[in-house]
């Protein structure tokens, strides 16, 4: 233990000393400055370490002047204070490093002093145990901040400093008045002493008013809505280093004092105060940032919002009527949030210093040039936006589950805000990752901070999975996720990474094999592992450059899916769901469609947050059939899964996300990841809804599935990009699965699960083939291909069979799903859905032909003359996937038997709804279908016809490509003859009214309307200091009037 006064004393003395030194020698002043910060960092670190290891059991009470608490001033350093001190000096040190790297403002000696005293003031604020002393430190912090803000090079900074100063003065006047009144009322200035006197709660109106006065002052400093205009201006105008220190450290000290004050002066209405201002600030600021164009102001809004959340948390944390375990969780969330925000935000502000452009648009391309910049930017953005595994994510979970049931609307509020945060942060991220390289300044501190965040995430993750929340997880999964990340370090060689990934996956299959049991979890686990293995094989097409984080992210997606399907509670489902979503976001973002990735991120996040809200509403987290607990949780939880299945009208992310993600990843995205939505919906039907209660909801979902199938198929018909076409097709097919699931009959679930596997096979095959084609041809634009059957026969054959399966034409595996589905539908009597589904599958023929024709048939284009067969890994995977396609076509019971075994464990589904008959094949209540016979008959008669034809036919000559009857003309070039563009234009004229992009227009409208409202709302920050001051007075009046709370 080190006496905390040493920190303050030494810092002060060295500030004075620097004051002398800077006159004589600049270098020594710098050295001394850094030494002091390093010393403070170490000493506060020692104290912090002492606290967390338990060496220091009690809070340190420092009696200054040797006087016992009420008489003299004393410092009271507990766990929180020590932690905060450490945080402050860490950020100060890193900020200073950045300052030195970037260049100091002149005259630098003074700047150093101000910087030192700013961090000292913040430390003092958090350490002090005396209200008046608090005021002194507030002023130290403020004046240092005024000076630093005003000194920034930007001319606007002066204006910001002035506003800051005016509002700051008012706020400190409030604090001072409150403190003095408090002295008058209680006869003491010592926090503990006063707390002791007011232990029973504040009962007199005057004391309440006094407390509110102090709290009002602190709330102004904490930048609550709407008295935060000054803060935003400061964030926008001031030197980012200063802002980093302010937002990252100083404000947190204010926050600590706020919490302490509220704790020591137990105002009954504090909870509502915090709820109102915290919630309002949080939500409003998150939305105000929606369309903010200035980077720094955007970060400012985000900071303000985070503070709002913290205030909200404080409200719950200090509310005595909340259960103690919840308060403990709240406290933990608070710590994580403070850590996350301090580091993430200061890192971002420092990064903002590196880019000259203030506008977001100016950030285009900054990520492309500099990997270090990219690393720290991504880490910071992800941690702030609450992406796993960063602390912000866990904080969100803790926070949500700590909120008492009667305040469930707060959950909605928090999640809504979090969603808005994802929207604008990832818009920012998207713009930064778009475009070609752009020069950015040097930055040493942000990478350090980011590494710190990363390192700190490890114990947090560990804690979450082990003691604190105890998210149940199979240890193998965590181990595998860890190993997956290590693949990154194999670095530049893709071959090496590929082999290592295969190795890791092999190990994963080996270690997870025991969990493949005949139940829903085991079924999907098998799909994930074996399917993933096959698709991973296909990801190495030669020498093409892929980001070195491709394979780690790929494996993380895979293993998080494994973790997801092995979950035993909803919480674990959520956690792995998020990991999967964000890892896949990274992968999609590696493709050319950054905007697509953004939309994907937004929709995923919306779904995931809805799911979290739904899980919160559930009475029990365990995955077991329970009592029906209202439709709302089911709807909310399903939303996440529906998003991943891209069920209409939540589908608009899918086209571009599938179409523009790296070709190597799309098979996984479509083949397996969309099935996680199926798995999840299954869980909802089984465990959240009961068989009876969810009937209406399931019918609705059935319609959603049918409409998805119909509209996506229709859109696929008019799509001219190979992968986007397949994307629509994939989404449409998953719509069928959803119909099957919603039927909730044995036959329906048979259909759904069968189609799950089947869809993986043929859509995996198609996307793998597409990867090969695009790799060879260099484009995914259909009209530019054609005639490739002559160059890529194997790929054609694979695609053909996959398409036949996709279309559900009998002899191959695809038909079984169709047959089961329609049988189930008719059995259940959902006749309108049957019609729609039938029609959709007819429409599928249109695009099936389109794929085959536009890519493989027709005329081979001149530029594709030298195209070769797909690379061997892809060809291999094509062959591998063809086997089940054919085998299942003849023997569907090879798959149906396991499915029945899975379903037999589910109550009400023991009887599969069909049986085998020797002659009739599979017989349901309604009809029958003999797959084996059809296969034999078709193949047999086809061969017969072929032989007969070969024997009897005329002399057949294979002619050249342009030897066609062309009205006697000689065609000039293939492109004259190839009909690839606008294949279905005639049909488009017929269904124009059906393919009107209504849904995407609605979503875009929502996005823009929210943006417009936010922009309108932001106008309250007029930039006029009078107005700001008026808000301050108004808010103070409201606080004083409404929250006295004492009758």
């Amino acid at each position: 233990m080190v006496n905390p006064i040493i920190i303050i004393g030494v810092t002060l003395a060295s500030a004075f000393f620097i004051g002398i030194l800077q006159v004589y020698n600049r270098i020594w002043a710098r050295v001394f400055f850094l030494l002091t910060l390093a010393f403070d960092f170490l000493v506060s670190g020692v104290n912090f370490y002492g606290f967390i290891t338990g060496k220091i059991a009690k809070p340190i009470l420092v009696k200054i002047g040797g006087f016992p608490p009420p008489i003299g001033i004393n410092l009271l350093v507990g766990k929180a204070e020590a932690a905060l001190g450490f945080l402050i000096f860490t950020i100060a040190l890193l900020g200073a490093i950045h300052w030195f790297v970037r260049g100091l403002p002149q005259p630098e000696g003074k700047a150093l002093i101000l910087f030192l005293l700013l961090s000292l003031g913040a430390t003092g604020i958090s350490f002090t145990g005396d209200f008046f002393n608090l005021f002194v430190f507030v002023e130290i912090t403020s004046i240092a901040a005024y000076g630093l803000v005003a000194s920034s090079k930007d001319e606007k900074a002066l204006e910001a400093a002035f506003k800051y100063m005016v509002i700051g003065s008012i706020s400190s006047t409030f604090i001072l008045l409150g403190v003095v009144f408090l002295y008058k009322a209680t006869g003491s200035l010592n926090m503990l002493d006063i707390a002791g006197k007011l232990a029973g709660g504040i009962s007199s109106a005057v004391l309440a008013l006094i407390t509110l006065m102090i709290l009002a002052g602190l709330l102004i400093e904490l930048e609550v809505f709407p008295v935060n205009g000054w803060a935003l201006d400061v964030y926008q105008g001031a030197d980012p280093v200063v802002v980093a220190l302010l937002a990252g450290a100083a404000v947190k000290a204010f926050y600590l004092v706020f919490v302490k004050t509220a704790h020591y002066l137990p105002l009954p209405s504090f909870f509502h105060l915090a709820l109102l201002f915290g919630g309002l600030t949080y939500l409003v600021s998150q939305f105000f940032a929606w369309r903010q164009k200035d980077v720094r102001r955007l970060l400012g809004y985000s900071s303000v919002a985070q503070l709002g959340l913290l205030i909200l948390v404080a409200g719950f944390f200090l509310n005595p009527s909340v259960s103690s375990s919840s308060r403990l969780m709240m406290g933990l969330a608070m710590v994580l949030l403070v850590f996350n925000h301090s580091f993430g935000k200061s890192s971002l502000f420092l990064l903002a210093d590196n880019v000259k452009e203030r506008k977001i648009e100016g950030w285009r391309g900054v990520l492309a040039s500099n990997p270090v910049f990219k690393f720290s930017f991504s880490t910071s953005v992800f941690s702030i936006a609450g992406v796993p595994p960063f602390p912000g994510f866990w904080a969100k979970i803790l926070l949500i589950f700590a909120i008492p049931r009667n305040y469930s609307w707060v959950v909605g509020l928090v999640l809504l805000g979090a969603l808005a945060e994802v929207v604008y942060y990832f818009r920012f991220y998207r713009i930064a990752s778009e475009g070609k390289g752009k020069k950015v300044g040097r930055n040493l501190a942000s990478p350090l901070i980011s590494s710190l965040i990363l390192i700190a995430s490890v114990p947090v993750v560990w804690g979450m999975f082990t003691d604190k929340i105890h998210i149940p997880v199979k240890p193998e999964i965590l181990l595998l996720l860890g190993i997956s990340l290590l693949v990154y370090f194999l670095g530049a060689s893709r071959l090496l990474q590929w082999i290592a990934s295969l190795g890791v996956l092999a190990y994963g299959i080996y270690s997870l094999y025991p969990y493949i049991k005949p139940d829903l979890h085991g079924f999907f686990l098998a799909l994930v592992l074996f399917g993933g293995a096959v698709l991973l094989l296909a990801t190495y097409p030669g020498s093409k450059k892929l980001s070195s984080s491709f394979y780690p992210a790929y494996l993380v997606v895979l293993f998080s899916m494994a973790g997801l399907v092995l979950s035993s509670t909803w919480l674990s489902v959520f956690v792995f769901w998020e990991i999967m979503s964000w890892a896949s976001f990274l992968l999609i973002n590696m493709g050319k469609g950054k905007k697509a990735a953004w939309i994907y991120a937004v929709f995923s996040a919306a779904g995931a947050y809805a799911m979290l809200g739904g899980i919160y509403l559930l009475p029990s987290l365990s995955l077991a059939p329970g009592k029906f607990y209202g439709l709302l949780p089911a709807v909310l939880i399903s939303l996440a899964f529906l998003v991943k299945m891209a069920t209409s009208p939540l589908h608009i992310w899918a086209r571009d996300a599938y179409g523009e993600s790296p070709d190597e990843f799309t098979p996984l995205l479509s083949g397996i990841m969309s099935k996680m939505g199926v798995f999840g919906s299954g869980l909802v039907f089984l465990y959240v809804l009961t068989a009876l209660s969810g009937a209406g909801f399931r019918y609705l979902l059935g319609w959603a599935g049918a409409l998805t199938a119909f509209f996506m198929t229709l859109l696929a018909v008019f799509q001219d990009d190979l992968k986007k076409l397949l994307a629509y097709s994939s989404v449409g097919q998953v719509g069928y699965i959803l119909i099957g699931l919603s039927l909730f009959t044995p036959l329906g679930w048979n259909a759904a699960l069968y189609h799950t596997v089947n869809h993986f096979i043929f859509k995996g095959l198609l996307f793998v083939a597409a990867a090969g084609i695009i790799y060879r041809v260099g484009t995914s634009y259909l009209p530019h291909m054609g005639g490739l059957i002559r160059r890529m026969p194997l790929t054609f054959f694979a695609t053909l069979l996959a398409i036949i399966a996709l279309a559900g034409i009998p002899p191959l595996s695809g038909f079984a799903a169709k047959w089961l589905l329609y049988s189930a539908l008719i059995e259940k009597g959902w006749i309108f859905i049957t019609v729609v589904a039938f029609l959709a599958s007819t429409l599928a023929f249109l695009y099936c032909f389109k794929i085959l024709h536009a890519v493989f048939l027709g005329q081979l284009q001149e530029e594709n003359e030298n195209v070769k067969e797909a690379p061997w890994p892809i060809a291999l995977v094509e062959v591998i996937l063809l086997i089940p396609l054919g085998v299942l076509g003849a023997f569907p019971n090879l798959l149906l038997n396991p499915i029945n075994k899975v379903l037999s464990g589910i109550p009400g589904m023991e009887n599969p709804g069909f049986h085998y008959h020797k002659a009739l094949g599979i017989v349901s209540k309604l009809g029958h279908w003999n797959a084996f016979f059809l296969m034999v008959f078709l193949v047999g008669s086809f061969l017969l016809a072929l032989v007969f034809f070969a024997l009897t036919s005329a002399r057949i000559r294979k002619v050249g490509q342009l030897d066609v009857g062309y009205s006697g003309e000689v065609p000039r070039a293939p492109e004259d003859l190839h009909f690839g563009y606008g294949l279905y234009d005639h049909f488009r004229r017929a269904v124009k009214w059906l393919i009107y992009p209504l849904v995407s227009k609605i979503w875009r409208g929502i996005y823009q309307w929210i943006g417009a409202f936010a922009e309108m709302g932001r106008r309250i920050y007029t930039g006029d200091v009078n107005t700001y001051a008026a808000y301050v007075i108004l808010i103070s009046i409201i606080i004083l009037y409404a929250f006295t709370g004492v009758k």
């Binding site: 005639g787 059957i789 053909l800 036949i804 559900g808 034409i809 009998p810 038909f815 169709k818 047959w819 329609y822 008719i826 009597g829 006749i831 309108f832 049957t834 019609v835 039938f838 029609l839 007819t842 429409l843 023929f845 249109l846 032909f849 024709h853 048939l857 027709g858 002659a919 009739l920 094949g921 309604l926 009809g927 029958h928 003999n930 016979f933 059809l934 008959f937 078709l938 008669s941 086809f942 072929l946 034809f949 036919s953 005329a954 002399r955 057949i956 000559r957 294979k958 002619v959 342009l962 030897d963 066609v964 009857g965 062309y966 009909f979 279905y984 049909f987 004229r989 017929a990 269904v991």
Partner: protein
């Protein structure tokens, strides 16, 4: 038993092809008579088939082009064989044990798809134009057809063709054309589309895109397609007979009923001009579908 079945089915198939060719000739004759000319002989299609079959040379554009006629023939024959001619008669029920109506409806596509692929490989621009038109039109007529089929499935609580036929036994008024007249109307209108009869004749459209998909086909290839199409048409007549006209109790009845069904598109085709594609799709999606919906809603309500 199995081999016997196969043998009888083979016989039926040959009969089907012959019947289809015969009906083709009849239709040419009737058309000619309606146009006040003599027309070719009723057996003209046999002559054409033989001529094509025995041509001396043929050209091929590639593997799919080569295989497509086989697909067409097998698809047509398979469809034919999945439909029982006389339900309950072991010799004339073909391979109806292979699958029910759902199987059949998907099976019907096989031939068209194979054909489409082959045609597309020919590299002639008319081929994909015709194919896409055909597929689009299929999307059109499939809706009323599906509606009426679903009506029958729901009404009879079975998806098997034999089951549907059995449900119609017991008098002419049990035929679905009388019990579900609107559904039947929808189906019969969609039959026009399926047969490519005149208002819906954009697929082959000889005046416009030569002959459409099979533009490049010649000689033996064409003969295979020709026979495939003939038997496919017969399969459709049989299917409609089974679905709406109560099936057949013997071959004669089957002949009569299919002939009646055959006349319906023939008469329509000769007196109508042609729809454009979007017109025909929208037509199918409106009137016949609405007809079908009437029965569908009725079934839904009284179920």
């Amino acid at each position: 038993m199995m081999w016997a079945k196969i043998f009888y089915a083979f016989l039926a198939l040959l009969g089907g092809i012959a019947y289809g060719l015969f009906l083709g000739g009849v239709s040419r004759k009737i058309t000619a008579r309606m146009q006040n000319r003599r027309g070719p002989t009723i057996w003209q299609n046999f002559i054409d088939l033989w001529k094509l079959f025995r041509k001396k040379t043929a050209i091929s554009h590639g593997v799919m082009f080569y295989l497509a006629p086989m697909f067409r023939l097998v698809g047509g024959a398979g469809t034919f064989l999945l439909v029982p001619i006389v339900v309950g008669n072991p010799y004339l029920s073909n391979f109806s044990f292979g699958g029910d109506l759902i199987v059949l409806m998907y099976f019907m596509v096989l031939g068209c798809l194979g054909m489409a692929l082959g045609a597309a490989e020919s590299g002639h621009p008319h081929a994909p134009i015709g194919v896409t038109r055909g597929l689009s039109q299929m999307a059109g007529y499939e809706l009323p057809f599906v509606i009426s089929v679903v009506v029958l499935m729901i009404a009879d609580k079975t998806t098997s063709i034999e089951g549907i036929v059995r449900a119609q036994q017991g008098g002419i008024l049990h035929w679905h054309i009388f019990t579900h007249p609107f559904a039947a109307a929808a189906a019969f209108i969609s039959l026009l589309g399926m047969m490519g009869s005149y208002p819906f004749q954009v697929v082959l459209a000889p005046q416009e895109i030569a002959i459409g998909p099979p533009t490049e086909y010649s000689s033996t290839f064409l003969s295979y397609m020709f026979s495939g199409r003939s038997v496919f048409a017969v399969a459709k007549y049989l299917l409609f007979m089974n679905l709406f006209l109560g099936g057949a109790s013997n071959l004669l009845w089957a002949f009569v009923k299919t002939f009646v069904i055959f006349l319906w598109p023939l008469f329509i085709t000769n007196v109508f001009p042609r729809f454009r594609l979007e017109q025909s799709v929208l037509f199918f999606w409106t009137w016949p579908s609405l007809f079908g919906l009437i029965d569908l809603v009725r079934i839904y309500l009284v179920r």
